[in-house]
């Protein structure tokens, strides 16, 4: 039994490392590639020559930062922070690539951290928009409470809370407001729902729902 547990733990940790590596690689390579393709030529602006890569990224027109309330089953509080990167923009749609880091706390149940990425399509309707997203991520959940296990002496001892790794496919539907063109706002506000799955959880894909309420902010104002 002990041997099997050790093997299981090893394979779980290996799987966890692989997922983190793949998502991380995807994020880094993707952002770098797209960023380098879409940068404003720094030679055009002498001021920007002095800026570092980080500043150029932050002030890039295609980059917006986002902050959301992420309420697992609505009222279990969480936050997600992320980057919204515009991949393509037409009059009728903006295709964007989002990456988010977040977590939530479900008291007496579990605390979870996640890193996820996804593609979305934002459809403008006058000053408003609807946003459909599809993505995948890595989630790590921890039992929210003291854990006991059998000690080697046969009694009870507190167990280290290593948590459990999960694959986290997700989809969300948001509606939002981006301000009128006249207002030239650097931010948009949105509200909507995300549905995501937690796998493997007792060998199933456990569904979750979470409302998202938040905003995106661009340090570089949009060109009209």
């Amino acid at each position: 039994m002990m041997m099997r547990d050790a093997e299981n733990l090893k394979s779980i940790l290996l799987m966890k490392a692989k997922i983190i590596f793949i998502i991380g690689l995807f994020l880094i390579l993707g952002i770098q590639k797209n960023f380098s393709q879409n940068l404003v030529n720094p030679d055009d602006n002498p001021k920007s020559q002095k800026q570092g890569a980080f500043s150029r990224f932050v002030y890039n027109e295609k980059v917006a930062f986002k902050l959301d309330y992420f309420g697992e089953l609505v009222l279990h509080p969480g936050l997600s922070l992320g980057i919204d990167y515009t991949l393509a923009k037409k009059n009728w749609i903006t295709v964007h690539w989002d990456s988010e880091l977040g977590g939530y706390w479900h008291r007496w149940n579990n605390t979870a951290l996640f890193l996820k990425t996804g593609i979305g399509g934002r459809l403008p309707i006058k000053a408003f928009f609807v946003d459909l997203n599809l993505g995948a991520g890595y989630m790590h959940s921890f039992a929210a409470g003291t854990i006991y296990q059998r000690s080697s002496e046969g009694g009870l001892e507190k167990a280290t809370n290593w948590g459990h790794p999960h694959f986290m496919p997700n989809t969300s539907f948001l509606i939002g407001w981006g301000g009128t063109r006249k207002m030239k706002l650097p931010c948009t506000f949105h509200i909507g729902a995300e549905v995501y799955l937690q796998s493997s959880f007792n060998h199933i894909f456990l569904p979750h729902s979470a409302p998202k309420v938040g905003f995106t902010y661009k340090f570089k104002k949009q060109t009209l």
């Binding site: 009222l75 008291r107 409470g145 296990q149 009870l156 506000f189 959880f201 309420v213």
Partner: protein, 342 residues
């Protein structure tokens, strides 16, 4: 614009603070970890009474978490501390336990960890195991293993499935008789003729496929609820309560994987129940079609063996498998009388 921002901030603040709800978190909780499962234990009610009723849920694959919202449980919590433990692969239990851990022995080990956890956190209180259906079987298995019964003060065994090897064929007879009554009444005649004739073949109920077929027929009888027209008091928890308590959607999705893989169709604990020598109460619904009244007598006779006197049996005459909901007052009286007499 300013109003929009203020509105947004107010909504955000409301959502952030609204999770702080009153009494869902009164009491104690912890997890026990064993063989791939992390199982939650919630303790509610009168902890000061120093009498802890450890509820062992049925199934396998059902849950205790939702039972904590039953009015009948809430009432009993006024007198005792109630311990709600979700078994591996069930309810709000977490982890990914391997199917090879779905054995009676493993569940007994899990139950012992729960008991050790209660004793550790609450300074050795009196513990009474209250097991319903599969929970009654698990309680019986636990108490007849080694010296585990020394850790427990009393045992309430309700409508238990402690001997399915002999019990399920009796339930098949129940289905057959129920089918005949429906045929005589002219209700869904074709369906019930098919059910009656299949039951008449005396199928081997240790074969899973046969069990699932019988179970489908059984669920259409009054095996669970004697009077289908009686309105039972189910768990009282609002949507807002679910959203602001420790509940999660796992309550609806866990259990199925376990139930399909945990084969207890050949379970027969009757012989080993003679080892149980602690005060015991057997409660049974007279019309239980799942674990029939004959199995109630079997449980009563098996506990402690024929010479053991510290046991009693209460039959709820107008109930079936959900006797604790069908005749709540009688159930509560019997329950309290037994526990207070320990």
């Amino acid at each position: 614009m300013r109003n929009l921002i203020i509105g947004f901030m107010l909504s955000f603040s409301f959502l952030m603070i609204s999770c702080e709800k009153e009494n869902f978190y009164d009491g104690d909780h912890f997890f026990v970890k064993c063989a791939g499962a992390e199982m939650p234990v919630y303790i509610k009610g009168n902890i000061e009474s120093k009498t802890f009723i450890l509820f062992v849920h049925g199934g396998p694959g059902s849950n205790a978490s939702l039972v904590s919202f039953l009015p009948v449980a809430k009432e009993l919590e006024n007198d005792y501390a109630f311990v709600y433990w979700d078994q591996r692969g069930s309810g709000l239990s977490q982890g990914n336990p391997d199917p090879s851990t779905f054995t009676v022995e493993q569940f007994v080990e899990d139950l012992d960890l729960v008991i050790e956890g209660i004793k550790l956190r609450h300074n050795n209180p009196r513990i009474v195991i209250y097991g319903v259906s599969w929970g009654g079987a698990l309680g019986s298995a636990y108490l007849s293993t080694g010296n585990y019964q020394d850790k427990v003060t009393g045992f309430i065994c309700m409508n238990s499935g402690h001997n399915l090897l002999e019990g399920i064929p009796k339930s098949v007879v129940f289905v057959k008789e129920y089918a005949q009554i429906q045929i005589d009444k002219g209700i869904d005649v074709d369906y019930w003729i098919e059910a009656r004739d299949w039951c008449a073949t005396v199928p081997d109920m240790t074969i899973k496929e046969n069990y699932f077929k019988y179970d489908a027929y059984l669920s259409n009888t009054n095996a669970y609820q004697y009077d289908p027209n009686q309105v039972l008091q189910g768990p009282e928890v609002s949507a807002m309560g679910v959203m602001s308590s420790y509940m999660s959607l796992a309550i609806f999705f866990n259990g199925q994987y376990l139930a399909e893989r945990f084969n207890i169709l050949e379970l027969n604990l009757s012989p080993q129940m003679a080892k149980i020598k602690i005060p015991s109460l057997v409660i049974w619904g007279r019309h239980d079609g799942v674990n029939t009244i004959e199995m109630g007598f079997d449980a009563y006779n098996s506990i402690g063996g024929p010479d053991f006197a510290d046991k009693e049996m209460v039959i709820l005459e107008n109930s079936a498998h959900l006797a604790h909901l069908e005749e709540q007052e009688l159930f509560k009286n019997a329950f309290k009388q037994f526990v207070n007499g320990l």
